[in-house]
């Protein structure tokens, strides 16, 4: 473990750390002024590209590469959308950044807009964050007053307006094209791709959608340099030409059954065990972990024996999880029922499925009703096969849905049943001693008894 001093979270605990004065006293906005004075947008793109920064929103797509997908010499407008619809269960890193250091985010937004030649940025904030809303709006007002936003910023000729938009609280609005639809005033149904937002996004114009933490990282790269950023984290795997590496600091949201839950900044690549033991004070009440969610509920489950997996962009995938996701680590202790966990997870996804694609709309709801029946003591072993089938066939990866929400709903189901099948079977046999072995379909229609 490399020695590490928090950077993204340096304002946490600083009195009035969210104000522009405090931010500037820590060196903030100086890199922006230098950039505007002497650099070209291409320089900023190059800086972010060479830093190896990957999007912090969940998918881990290289940020600089995403920016280069914008059409060249587009007459504009080009839009930057900041995804602050942080709704993955267990995730709260964006909230910390927005509440305690909003100017760091705004500097990142200005730098990113400059790089992408966007003159309008929309910050899409989830409804449940009133404090973030007040802090961000205050910071935006301060930035306008200080001349960092508005027309002809610092005499550079570059203009930028930032609009803070408060969503109406739906998980699907965090999907980038769902977010775009919602911003346009429509139902947040994710769009089909292609065209990707970089070609045709918000208001059918080229659009980049980036996460709050990504913006903070951009600000820090501009301040501390590419070399600093690349000195942190996990380099690319030379054996895998498609691995761009996992560089930089990352905010890990640690919650669940740990002694000290919280948002901790660490170098990418810290193992789950280290995170729990060093930052979280270990599993609570002296118990052992049964399972750990590596990065938000939709990423699936790691078992206790998989806790030494590094939490970088490539790590969780190696143990069958969907990915690093939002790096929201939720610890489940050994006294918790995985059946309960999966039921809770299914309830969330059945509630949040947008209902556009058939497999996800019906699959999430069906799986919830199966789990409700299992919990009611009427489970059958055959149900596990159905759940597993739903888990493996639902999602963008098998191609059966438009967006990744379905993959997120499928992964905990798939992981839980594959990794904890014994516990499910025990539960079903224990609660339904007379019917667990039945393989006939559960009668769905009330057959009218004739004669």
């Amino acid at each position: 473990m490399q020695p590490f001093k928090p950077v993204l979270l340096e304002a946490v605990g600083v009195p009035d750390g969210h104000t522009i004065a405090s931010y500037k006293s820590r060196g903030g906005y100086a890199p922006l002024e230098a950039t505007l004075a002497g650099k070209q947008p291409a320089d900023v793109i190059e800086m972010v590209k060479s830093s190896g920064l990957r999007g912090r929103g969940g998918a881990g797509f290289p940020t600089g590469l995403k920016w280069t997908f914008l059409p060249k010499d587009h007459p504009g407008p080009i839009y930057l959308c900041i995804n602050a619809d942080e709704s993955e269960p267990g995730t709260f890193n964006n909230r910390i950044l927005m509440e305690d250091d909003p100017h760091q985010v705004i500097e990142g937004i200005i730098l990113s807009s400059f790089a992408t030649r966007a003159s309008t940025a929309y910050l899409y904030l989830r409804y449940e964050y009133p404090k973030s809303w007040h802090r961000l709006q205050g910071a935006i007002d301060e930035a306008y007053a200080a001349g960092y936003l508005g027309k002809n910023i610092r005499g550079s000729g570059f203009s930028l307006d930032v609009y803070l938009h408060r969503g109406a609280a739906a998980y699907i609005c965090g999907e980038e094209t769902g977010l775009i639809e919602s911003l346009e005033g429509k139902r947040a149904w994710p769009r089909i791709k292609p065209p990707f937002p970089a070609i045709e996004g918000l208001f059918r114009k080229p659009t980049v959608v980036n996460n709050i933490e990504t913006m903070a990282c951009v600000a820090q790269i501009a301040r501390r340099g590419v070399d600093w950023f690349k000195s942190i984290g996990v380099p690319a795997d030379p054996a895998n030409p498609r691995d761009p590496g996992s560089y930089g600091p990352k905010l890990y949201c640690l919650s669940g059954h740990v002694e000290k839950p919280g948002c901790y900044e660490a170098a990418l690549g810290i193992t789950a065990r280290e995170l729990i033991d060093r930052f979280g004070g270990g599993v609570w009440k002296g118990r052992k972990a049964k399972a750990v969610i590596p990065g938000g509920i939709s990423m699936g489950l790691m078992t206790e024996s998989e806790l030494d997996t590094p939490l970088d962009f490539a790590g969780p995938g190696k143990v069958g999880c969907l990915g690093l996701g939002t790096a929201a680590v939720v610890v489940i202790d050994d006294q918790t029922s995985i059946v309960d966990f999966l039921h809770n997870s299914a309830r969330f996804f059945a509630h949040e499925s947008c209902g556009q694609c058939t497999p996800c709309r019906e699959g999430t709801s069906w799986s919830l009703r199966i789990l409700e029946r299992i919990k009611a003591g009427k489970g059958r072993l055959k149900d596990l096969d159905i759940l597993l089938e739903l888990g493996t066939t639902m999602g963008m990866m098998p191609g059966s849905t438009i967006c990744g929400l379905a993959d997120g709903a499928a992964w905990p189901m798939k992981n839980a049943i594959k990794k904890f099948r014994g516990e499910f079977e025990d539960y079903i046999k224990r609660t339904n001693p007379s019917g667990w072995m039945v393989t006939d379909p559960v009668p769905a229609l009330q057959i009218v008894g004739a004669h």
Binding site: H351, G355, R361, S365
Partner: protein, 545 residues
């Protein structure tokens, strides 16, 4: 030419054609099942029924690289070398799962559902579904909800393909329908106080692949498997939309749009869709009658007695009466077909070589009304003004309007008039009819009684649009030939049959034979020669050629 490989079969597509996999596969005779995709609407790729496997064949090496997952056929365009696999196990399993998913919350109330028999959910389930229902869920009751004056929504039958929502947004431009709620609880609905009440609303019923949207006009009237359909043309306005008249035992039950890229695409308006009820109106005139005595003025002491005349006698006596009366004026109704108009003119000329021929009354209502999707409802409420005008031109009577005819009669230049009408509603008032009061003979051929009809010496029944065969030319010079769907009410001769017999022609009335004659009679009708495609021909294009 680009080549697309569908299940191993190579098919060529046009160099400029932009097809998706569903369309390309159809060329190869492979039907990819789909719900949400419709060629006239935007692509949402949400039902996931059309998932297929695709790949790309390298032009140089011939090596095929497959996409490692399923893709929606509707959303995937084909290009040269595109490989489409529609029958792999992966695809079949995927279809079976989508069918299973769609039926989880479906009430499965086919026995009382109007859509049964023409329901994609049924058809695809038989073809692609699995025999066993694994879902342990009690399907819920079929709730229904009124969403507008024409449509009832059966909420739980809906599979959320959103075709109807997209139609009201993209084609009608009125956007009444929307999706409410989320996930498996979502429903189609309207905002309170804003019902589905646009002039194209009935199309959402056609678009609905399942029984969720019911046409109130058709609901519970007839099982669809009893219906027979005839390719027909709507007579409601001069747009001349292609339709299917669906009927059983000489009764029309509903009209459906018939796809015609040159005229109406996939749509028809509600006015046309529900504009068939007059065919079965009890008030229709069914008997050919003649006033027994010479008619006097209105109000001179009661209506003279009338006598019913056999159709075979009409052929002879009508000619004799008109010949005896003297100078003849004839109104050629724009409700008649080109063939009928052409024969009527010939009959008139054979009675009185100097007969005054003019276009019949042209009913209009408001102004043309266009919709965002390109559909237009015409103000001119008759199907064949253009065709009749061209026929009149053949008889050197081009440009003569109804007003000219009224003025001609009012000026005392005619002793007899033969007014063909056939309008589905009231069209002439007493004041206008007065101009015809002094004629020696007045023949009126119409569907319903009217002030003019009351003056007539000869009252002849007319036939409606589904009861006649022939050709209509719409406002854009597009000619479509059609055959009669139902027989007229017992005893009624369609106009064409009467004219045919009055011309002394042998055998049954043969509109196709007449059309061939019309085609040779004028360059304007040259395009009508031979077989016409089901979608019709443009008269002008052929003139240019």
């Amino acid at each position: 030419m680009p080549v697309v490989i569908v299940d191993g079969q190579e098919i060529e597509i046009g160099a400029d054609e932009r097809l998706n996999c569903i369309e390309a596969a159809r060329r190869a005779g492979k039907e990819i099942p789909h719900y949400c995709w419709h060629p006239g609407l935007s692509v949402v790729a949400s039902c996931r029924m059309c998932l297929i496997e695709t790949g790309q064949r390298d032009t140089a090496t011939g090596k095929i690289t497959m996409v490692p997952k399923l893709v929606p056929g509707c959303q995937t365009p084909v290009k040269d070398g595109t490989v489409i696999v529609t029958e792999s196990q992966l695809v079949k399993d995927s279809r079976a799962r989508v069918e299973e998913a769609l039926l989880i919350d479906h009430p499965i109330d086919c026995p009382i559902c109007d859509k049964a028999g023409e329901c994609l959910l049924q058809d695809y389930h038989f073809e692609h579904g699995q025999p066993e229902r694994r879902a342990d869920l009690q399907p819920f009751h079929s709730r229904k909800r009124d969403v507008g004056p024409t449509v009832t929504l059966f909420v739980d039958r809906c599979i959320m393909c959103t075709r109807c929502v997209r139609f009201t947004r993209e084609i009608a431009g009125t956007a009444e329908l929307m999706v409410t709620s989320r996930g498996a609880k979502e429903e189609i609905d309207v905002f309170p106080g804003h019902p589905l009440a646009n002039k194209l609303s009935g199309n959402v019923v056609d678009l609905c692949p399942v029984g969720a949207l019911g046409d109130k006009d058709f609901l519970y009237q007839q099982r669809v498997w009893f219906l027979k359909r005839e390719a027909n043309v709507c007579g409601g306005c001069s747009a001349g939309c292609s339709i299917h008249t669906e009927h059983n035992q000489d009764a029309v039950y509903r009209l459906k749009p018939r796809e015609n890229p040159h005229v109406n695409k996939w749509w028809i308006c509600d006015e046309g869709r529900y504009g068939w009820h007059h065919l079965h109106d009890q008030a229709r005139i069914l008997d050919a009658t003649r006033k027994a005595t010479t008619p006097g003025h209105r109000g001179d002491g009661g209506t003279p007695a009338t006598e019913s005349i056999e159709w075979a006698d009409v052929v002879v006596k009508l000619r004799d009466d008109l010949k005896a009366a003297g100078r003849l004026a004839v109104a050629v109704s724009p409700m008649l077909t080109v063939e009928e108009a052409w024969m009527l003119c010939a009959v008139a000329k054979s009675i009185d070589p100097e007969a005054f021929l003019a276009l019949g009354f042209v009913p209009t209502q408001g102004a043309d009304e266009s919709f965002p999707g390109g559909f237009t409802i015409r103000a001119e409420k008759c199907p064949n003004r253009k065709g009749v005008e061209e026929v009149l031109a053949v008889y050197a009577a081009g440009g003569r309007s109804w007003d000219d005819l009224v003025a001609h009669v009012a000026a005392g230049k005619a002793d007899a008039a033969w007014i063909t009408a056939g309008y589905p509603g009231p069209w002439i008032d007493t004041a206008a009819a007065d101009a015809f009061a002094d004629l020696g003979q007045l023949v009126v051929q119409d569907l319903f009684d009217s002030p003019l009809m009351r003056l007539a010496t000869w009252r002849l029944p007319a036939t409606g649009f589904a009861e006649r065969s022939g050709t209509w030319v719409n406002v854009a010079h597009h000619a479509q030939a059609f055959r009669q769907a139902i027989r007229p009410p017992a005893g009624v001769w369609p106009e064409g049959r009467l004219f045919w017999n009055m011309l002394g022609r042998r055998g049954l009335y043969d509109p196709i034979a007449v059309r061939q004659q019309v085609a040779t009679s004028s360059a304007a009708f040259a395009a009508l020669a031979g077989e016409l495609p089901a979608t019709g021909v443009d008269l002008r294009l052929h003139q240019i050629a």
